[in-house]
Amino acid sequence: MMKDPRAPEALSWSVFTQGIWRDNPVFVMLLGLCPALAVSNTASNALAMGLATTFVLLCSGVLVSLLRKVIPKQVRIASYIIVIATFVTIVDYAIQAISLELYKALGAFIQLIVVNCIILGRAEAYASKNHVINAFVNALGMGVGFTFAMLCLGVVREVLGSGTLFGVSLFGPDFQPWAVFVLPPGGFFILAFWLFLFAVLKKRKQVRMAGRQPKSETEKEVARAT
């Protein structure tokens, strides 16, 4: 029997890990780059942004999954956007209440979580077709993956750009910070650097796999010949 591609996926470990490594939203799928570059100038901003996005991902994933049989197909995207915008408004007011300083640092980028393509993409591609628990787990994985990517960018940019980590000085007063890394160009350069690094690692792995394959073949032939 052919497996229906629209059938709900069974809950498994890979539902969670998909977002963290194999389909990491920032490093692999290149989604949600705008907030990833704009607010990763310090590690704490990056962490806050990652957590806020995770919250919206979780809530909207669950709600979209619950409503998946109620929302008519023709207006689904508009409905998803309204759902997402509602949760972003909640986050916006919550951050404003918790820390005004953080709110000022993140600026309009909290409200811009609405147009973060990761969230709409997950709602459309996963939550609208799967059970609530799956949608929750998958959204959690994606959120963790996004936060991880944000931290990768934020930590490097803050350490190089201002010589601190989460506001704690690392190298003492003699360190001359590379200001360019906390400025906009640094965001581009650091993300490009991570992508280069992953490409090199992937290439190495491929070479190693390819190197192992023919060797074992020849070994077999040698064994057969003797």
Partner: protein, 193 residues
């Protein structure tokens, strides 16, 4: 220059705080549609157009919301209004100018999820611009986006012929170029005085 003069508002959005290269808005089309010079310039045109329309709508909506003290609905209203405005613009163009529709067609739906559009609406609200200032701001932002996109497309067309190492392809290379462009645009930071 006066900080609230129209020239300054235009230049601020166009060069000094370029939407793509300094504020990181609209990176998806910046990396996705910058492969060819021609598509890049069409996309730029479409964005300028949609920015003008949505900035006008956002200004009206904001005035209404403030009148009825419903500011917490701002985000939901903006995104709904922008999405429907884009749809409306698409239908109008299709009806009155098929030629223009054919050249802009596929880009219009993409623009709905472009964060530069929503960003523009939010920034103009935060800065409390009046109507004429809003128009200048959206024109500057649109022009800045188009400039960045066209510069990028020009560079990437040349790069097709260049001999780069195996791992330096695709997005990583495009991001490095974006970084270099952004570095160049930082030179405009002194323009505001």
């Amino acid at each position: 220059m006066q900080p609230d003069s129209l020239t300054f508002i235009f230049l601020d959005a166009f060069l000094i705080n370029n939407f793509v290269l300094a504020m990181f808005l609209g990176l998806c089309p910046f990396l996705g549609v910058s492969g060819k010079l021609e598509t890049a310039s069409r996309m730029g045109m479409a964005v300028v157009f949609v920015m003008l329309v949505s900035s006008t709508c956002a200004f009206g909506i904001n005035a209404l919301l403030i009148r009825f003290e419903l500011e917490f609905l701002r985000l939901i209203c903006y995104i709904a209004v922008i999405a429907s405005a884009v749809q409306l613009v698409e239908m109008t163009i299709k009806k009155f100018s098929p030629v223009l529709f054919r050249s802009l067609g596929i880009f219009l739906p993409l623009i709905t999820t472009n964060c530069a559009i929503l960003g523009l609406a939010l920034f103009q609200t935060n800065r409390e611009y009046d109507f004429i200032q809003c128009l200048a701001y959206s024109l500057g932002a649109g022009a800045g986006f188009t400039l960045a996109l066209i510069l990028m497309a020009g560079l990437r067309e040349k790069l097709e012929l260049a001999d780069t190492p195996d791992v330096c392809t695709g997005a990583a290379l495009a991001l490095t170029l974006g970084g270099l462009l952004s570095l160049a645009f930082m030179g405009f930071a002194g323009l505001g005085g």
